[in-house]
Symmetry: D2
Subunit: 351 residues, 4 copies
């Protein structure tokens, strides 16, 4: 019963098979290989955007921070939700890659960034140039750190507010496939058609071993990116490692099948949990993450029975949430590898 994280499994069977097949023979290095070239074309097709610029790297932090370094000047700020992965879990990589731009975190009280919050922040920026740092980009996470998915409408509103003030819009899509699977919106609708300038699309959490994409819908922002990737050590010599994973991941809708399964396992958990006394599902579950209040004795019992899930930080709760001493705030994550029987066993133990 593993609900610890979606980066604790290996690759999906299909992705692994692709890696095995790609292992044969000689091919050009540094991303000039045939797999990488094909993978770029697949991305362009799936996003219905023949001109988007696509780059592969091996880690999500690299993808996010390389993207951001292409979007802001070092004297600008990057606005994001207070629980954003770039703010909480990537050390000071955003500052390092951008040459010292600043993260400004918004909206501690809610699980998602709202147009109202953004608008209110931007409106009260009476900038005293060059003393005050200047907003340069907005970054949102899809699906986000509270397990929620922004609707196309919400993204559009945020994009319009951002663009009106000259900010670029970055989307951290570490769980983008879960968001697409959840809403049914097309990849294009959820990104560039809604105003996203750069998407970091993560495959590692959903079926790959290590494969992340930086997709520039605004090609001008991609200028110099090949140098950025190289000088940060993120251009792998054997590009087939990334290209083969990505190609297989997208082929025949594999990525969405994996994501759909993960989401369904999460919903099955929700259904099982929501009827139980003493369990509070803190945030709406839109994708493959659940944030719960569980009775502490239940937590200990479940863990003693082999269930894996993690305590979560109280400071990420809604601002007005009253924590009971008897309860523990926990996060559960499902993945493509989660089985129905794991879910059912968990629920039955909890009953």
């Amino acid at each position: 019963m593993y609900f610890g994280s979606d980066n604790q499994s290996g690759a999906s069977h299909k992705v692994l098979e692709a890696l095995i097949n790609a292992n044969q023979g000689i091919s050009a290095s540094y991303g000039e290989d045939e797999w990488s070239q094909k993978a770029v074309e697949i991305v362009r097709t799936i996003f219905e955007h023949p001109d988007c610029q696509v780059f592969f790297v091996a880690s999500g932090t690299a993808a996010n921070c390389l993207a951001l370094s292409s979007m802001v000047k070092p004297w600008q700020t990057i606005l994001c939700h207070q629980q954003a992965h770039i703010a909480m879990d990537e050390s000071t990589a955003p500052e390092f890659f951008t040459g010292g731009a600043r993260l400004v975190t918004l909206d501690a009280g809610k699980g998602r960034l709202t147009a109202t919050t953004l608008s209110s922040y931007l409106d009260r920026q009476a900038l005293h140039i060059p003393h005050n740092p200047v907003p340069g980009a907005l970054s949102i996470t899809q699906a986000n750190e509270a397990g929620q998915v922004y609707s196309v409408q919400e993204i559009t509103e945020l994009a319009q507010l951002a663009h009106a003030k000259g900010l670029k819009l970055h989307m951290d899509g570490a769980r983008f496939s879960n968001a697409v699977a959840s809403t049914g919106a097309s990849p294009a609708e959820m990104t560039w058609r809604a105003g996203v300038d750069v998407l970091c699309l993560g495959a590692s959490k959903n079926g790959c071993l290590a494969a992340e994409m930086v997709i520039f819908f605004d090609s001008a922002l991609a200028e110099g990116f090949e140098f950025r990737r190289k000088r940060t050590g993120h251009l792998l010599s054997k590009g087939r490692l990334l290209g083969a994973q990505v190609e297989a991941w997208f082929a025949d809708g594999h990525w969405l099948k994996l994501a759909k399964h993960a989401n369904e396992m999460a919903m099955r958990l929700v259904e099982g949990l929501s009827v139980l006394d003493g369990v509070d599902i803190v945030w709406p579950v839109d994708a493959n993450e659940l944030f719960l209040m569980l009775p502490k004795d239940k937590v200990h019992y479940l863990q003693s029975q082999g269930a894996v899930f993690y305590d979560w930080d109280d400071t990420t709760l809604p601002a007005d949430y009253v924590v009971k001493e008897t309860h523990q705030f926990v996060r559960m994550v499902t993945s493509f590898a989660t089985t129905q029987s794991e879910v059912d066993q968990f629920i039955s133990l909890l009953r």
Copy 2:
């Protein structure tokens, strides 16, 4: 009637005279001159700390950020009040100088950083290494951005909390002389005896043209500082410019006389303003800055009569402050150059 800022005057008469005298003759460059050497000794005497390491630079941003770069690793955070000058008014210099350390701002709701706020923040840092940025330093401003002065007791408490968690304590002393003049505490009591590791002492706002000091009470932190200063372009070739100002500024208590005057002018304003209807002095006035709510018609009238002071940012008000539509939030600053007649004229116009 100039109450715009304390950096809008030239040097005091004595400091200017020192510059004129120091202009003669040949002397070693790059801070090896006799004036700089003497100035270092004066600092050591005044702070009763014969081993402190002292460096001169020409700007407050340089002093603060060079100091911080000596105190934190690039993967650490610098905690400060939300209105701190380093957070609001130094662009992204802290990130640039430190190689990408992060500022974390605390306590929007109050005009000063309290031990409670700091303690509460530090306690809830359940660090997931190496993902989360790690607190590395605390920075406080003395006198601070709300015109308030931390007592020796408060500094001691903050220092103890900081040191207990391995943080270094930085003091931005752009208006340190005003704080010393206000409290009567000795420079040593207000700094290293209370736990301050590095003080940035500003003379530019209080009688000099451009002279700021970085004073390391913890000499180990000063290792490499001469390289830091050089490679950031802050080692001036004609060091006498800085050394002569500093020497004259400290001589015969000149610095405190200037600061005392500025503070007295501020208190004279407070006395005159506090009896007037419709005027609200928002924060206690401990030094040479006043933050006021003035009726808008009065503001316009005063400005039409030649009074200079600036509208201030509402977001720096106490969290629960209710702003009246009829009023304007303003800042007034006095300096060594403020005259009693300017103050009296201002008050009489406001009556």
Copy 3:
């Protein structure tokens, strides 16, 4: 007949098999997995150094530059041979990772860095502090960019000169296994026993898909490395990808078997080529790289027959080498995947 580069093959059969096996099941992320833990232990055993600190990353540029960033201050220089990979082929990654340290390239005229050259450079550094950049580290490549291997004696001499002046010694071991296979010196003899402080050991060119190690023999230098790796985006979430490769690569001397084969193929080429008229083997062939002058018509003929190898930069020739207009300078590289029949076919075509 592929002699283009040793990064144009996939993984060896054994390494691929290990990846397949490691794909199963749940394991901790971010390098806490069992494969990574075992791989660290194998490194310690092979290097006979139970306390060395070992970190895995996916690219050689990342390994080298992360290592260097742990070894020098930003105001120091890194000395290296003019043809060093860090100077020629890693963009400005050394500057980026180190926060702006400077590369100083030595000895254009020879294929290897000599103690005489180093000594002469260090002796004439009359440092005017803090104006001049200060030597902080020496970096050598083993096997180096001219296909040569430093003897243990040479390394020891360079290390002694470096250490005597306070420099740390870095070894870029992208082809370290070829060097070990070539000399028969033990890994320990060739590194820490000779004075190497930090080794970057590359497995990607010799049987892995993407696996590089940073090995600190001086543990003090490793302080903070986990933060450095994270904030540069080089901590992979699914650490098994790296750990499994490394473990299998070292197991049962697999790494040396692969390297030995590559070296033997290079020697077979040398033997075949050295008896041919009009062919000049420019540098001694110690490992798996050959640098040759070939008649231009032969070059064209070989390439038309499917032989792959690259023109090489004339500026890397010995200083006094006279290039004939009829000849082309080329590089040939053998790898674990090079077959004897490829070599023999190449030689017979050239006859």
Copy 4:
């Protein structure tokens, strides 16, 4: 008899007087003051370029490195002469300000950078993108580190070569006034009309206490400069300090009178020295610096009599220069403050 450096005097009488006058009264801070505004206009007039963008800072390292950071990307290189001040005497400031661009030094053997050397370097750059750093700017010093002045013709040729390959041309004009005084070329002819994109014009060595200018003839390069200056701590609060110096320095040709005097004193030294046995003037003396071989006994005698000048680094000699054991290589510098009697006394002692 001071010939140590041109940064060991104070300000000229006129510049000091201007500082005294500018000390009175209230004025806007951060460069918005009237003196700074006027100084910008004077620069535009003197350079016959009404649109050039002009910024003031207090140190030459800051001027040079801020300028360069506006001219190159962090993955580019800056080409310069091996003895360039930016390469020898500014620590690793170029790397720091540019975010890690690389200095590439050319032409060790000669006292000036020639079009042939530049052309030869640029021609052999067979760039393997993105692996190799890419030339982004050329920096020349006028007058240069060997005391020589580039002719307008030479600058034009270097500019054309640079621009043809997409490089920007930077001029380090720490002794620009000496060069103008020496050649009689107008400031415009020697800079933008010859192809210089950005000039760093130093006044500190020639009559000011601390005043350096960054002058963008290509205004597009100045975009964001105000942020760069602020976040590096180089925006002084009391801008009058810089503005007043610059204004007075340029007024009535004062800057050229000072430079002309310094140059004349250097020529007087040359005339006196050139007739003496055992003295070799190594480089042509075009401005205010002399590089000499003096008999060692003469050196000791002169210094014992109070003459100040410095031993110089043998590695900066012409490549084929044979140093006699009996002689010492020294540098002598004249300045606006050098007197005829100092020169004559020096010569007579040497006879």
